[in-house]
Point group: C3
Chain length 349, copies 3
């Protein structure tokens, strides 16, 4: 992908931004941050492992610890290159350059209120009584149902859907294909053949806090009666399912393909690893973790790491799993014992 070089900063600016010391001419221009293998003129690479250093070409600039500067290399000297890396990415990430105003093709209901500093992209639909706050960006093809509210500086990517009664906080980012406020799956199974399952109407909404991220193709269902709730700072990856009435505390992380069944409750700072899950009504305590591919079927205490299905203490599960892998050996040792015991019994007779 050949990108338009839309960023140009000097080594001095980089040093100021990430907190470091320039090595060489502070007016050198930098157009991109790249991996060491792609180091070239006007690029900068951040390195914290010695073995990465050899991959760099001679013309690119370096951000690294003092020991990596050998007298020839120019760049910026830092004490914590990892931290510098994240900061540097923010510097080079093109800021969203959307202006403000409602695109002429967008459809905004008369009763909706749009801040003059917000951007409403092409083909967006904003329904009755919804409120879009300052500096919000709705990219193209965003659907906002009735009675929604989107907090200041939040961004909603193309093809995302907010049904009615969804409240989104400030600085929140909702990715494409996310569906928020869809009916919860409240279904009463049929009790006898030929009877239809019955759908329970879902009249609650969804409340999403500040600084949240919701990944592509993720779904957050509306509550049955109250609101499904996502606390501030929660980060949700792609293909995650949050069912009706779930409550997620602040700063939780839900990795891709995680599924939370109805009315589960997560404390603060919980980590749900990839493709993990929790049974309905399960409570997971503050800063607990559910390992990848695992499913919690009962409450998890704060700070505890659980794994497996049904999930339990990670160390316990690990022991059982290790023995599972040794089952063929265990079985042959059992058979060996059976032989010996039989022979002992026979001798006795």
């Amino acid at each position: 992908v050949k990108k338009v070089p839309d960023v140009s900063v000097t080594l001095r600016q980089i040093a100021d931004y990430i907190g470091g010391t320039v090595v060489g001419d502070p007016e050198h221009e930098v157009h991109a941050v790249v991996s060491p293998e792609k180091s070239a003129k006007n690029t900068v690479s951040v390195i914290w492992e010695e073995r990465e250093l050899g991959k760099m070409g001679g013309e690119g600039f370096l951000v690294g610890p003092p020991s990596f500067f050998n007298g020839q290399r120019e760049g910026v000297l830092v004490s914590d290159p990892r931290e510098a890396f994240v900061k540097l990415l923010f510097l080079f990430k093109s800021p969203n350059k959307r202006g403000k105003g409602v695109h002429p093709t967008a459809l905004v209901a008369e009763t909706a209120r749009i801040s003059p500093s917000a951007f409403i992209g092409p083909f967006c639909v904003v329904e009755d009584n919804s409120v879009i706050h300052d500096h919000v960006v709705l990219e193209a093809h965003v659907y906002i149902g009735a009675n929604c509210e989107v907090g200041a500086h939040s961004v909603i990517e193309p093809m995302a859907v907010l049904f009615s009664d969804v409240l989104v906080g400030e600085r929140t980012l909702i990715h494409s294909g996310a569906v928020i406020g869809c009916d919860g799956f409240g279904i009463i199974p049929s009790r006898c053949p030929k009877e239809r399952p019955v759908k329970i109407p879902q009249v609650g909404g969804v409340v999403i806090g500040d600084d949240v991220e919701v990944g592509a193709c993720s779904t957050i269902d509306r509550g049955t009666l109250d609101n499904t709730y996502i606390g501030a700072g929660v980060k949700i990856d792609d293909h995650v399912h949050v069912a009706h009435n779930v409550r997620i505390g602040e700063n939780c992380i839900l990795v891709a393909m995680t599924g939370l069944a109805g009315s589960t409750e997560l404390g603060e700072g919980v980590i749900m690893a990839a493709r993990s899950g929790a049974k309905d009504h399960v409570k997971i305590g503050d800063r607990a973790q559910v390992a990848a591919m695992s499913g919690a079927v009962k409450d998890v205490a704060p700070g505890v790491v659980v794994s497996g299905f049904p999930a339990r203490d990670h160390k316990e599960h690990f022991k059982a799993q290790a023995l599972y892998l040794r089952l063929p050996e265990i079985f042959s040792r059992l058979r060996e014992l059976e032989k010996k015991t039989k022979s002992l019994e026979e001798e006795k007779e």
Copy 2:
């Protein structure tokens, strides 16, 4: 979420609708049904567990069994509060107030036929020869491919896609982000390095019955030659995948993240629990159940509950699973036996 109070009913109307007896002034107005914790003036809460009763404030109305009315409380007395709860939700669920007609921004092919009572929302596209029946609602941004048919009173939510050759029954609800009629994954793997896998064209369609629900971000692929088939009354949650040539009998329930591989067949009233699956060509009998996180790799007899992967009779699986968790104990008992046997053998010598 501050909702506009768009519903106002009296206790008398509630009693009539759900079948109960008014306690107090039948002309009291009710604007919302809420959980007991949120009970307040002009709200009603339905309670069937004693411990919930204490959570109610003094001003809200109650729907509950006779024993919960202590002389002060007003509301509606019912014999089956759970059933009353579902009915009450229907009463308060704002009916879809869409009018009728084709929105001026929608694009409808000349050869398509749209009932005068249907609503075609903003930015919808309806392609050649498709038929939209009476009182259908296509919300904004719905794509209907060629040769489709959507039955009376069905609703399709924003950003849902029906490819060509998809037939949808009556009163069916398709949620946002659902993709119906996408190519089945008919791929012939390459037999040697450098060879491309070959895509098998998929020329069948999809038939969906009456009273079906398809969740957000769920996919139902078209058949290779015949139609993928979803029987009447089937309820499908979010993130569910139904592959090509699958046949699902009436009234089945597919919970979130379930996956059915190609040509699987479900009888009537089957329940596929969360993140369950079935291997291609597997047949699952009437009213059978596949437990959460389980995968059926061979046929399941009618009425049987299976779990695990590979799935088998739930009781059998449960026994094995319980012993799996006890593997460390089993292993130490085995080692103990080995010691004892060795010592018996040595003594013998």
Copy 3:
């Protein structure tokens, strides 16, 4: 689904196309290829199993091996009916009949370049500097972000999203609801309560090769610094997640609900079966396979088939799994041994 008979070919044309010999009048007309159960006038069915032959009605044409033609049946005689079946489907698959040109409702940035032979459907958005090559079809409601490129003859289905910096090769097919180039999930978890997790900006792009297929509701995240890379000929089913910095070699197959964590690397011709996965940074060798419902947590050597979680050699896993199912028996044999040993010990005293 009643389809418009938009294809009409003669037996002679079929024989020429699939490489066979006409049996009967070469000018007979055929309007559809159907399964044997649906055989009727002007249809053709392909049969390679004797038991399927009995399901055919008398009026339909047959494509099959010589032994299936009994003197009455007309059709086309072939040596390899399976191969003929795939070819025949290509003949009957209606070619995409989109014309060329930009639909009047589509919005194309001034700096974007669109080939005159490309079709840009209704409500499409193409942002700055993007390039759409010859004969590309963007169906309705496709979003193409800035600095993208879509190679000749590629097709993008309704509601698919390409964020900025996505390069798509030639003859590639991207299905509805797919989201390509979304931010990778680079999140630094909080180290103490109340601290927010930190999002690492993602400035890389996505490169997708020629002849690729990306299924409905699948996501391919952009790289952190470099590009996420999908090799030529790769076939991706629905609900698949490809995280940031992943590299997939040519001709791999990823079946539905597969998830690849960040920076995994797949060689050429790898098969990831349904709902399989790989941990971050894992390398899977050429033509290796990960079985359904399995998760690779360490590197897999070329050509090896692994299964289970944690995945290991399929045969080893199979043995352990078989014994897992026999755990109740193993446990009762263990208890039996304990009894016998105890009795041997007691006798000894």
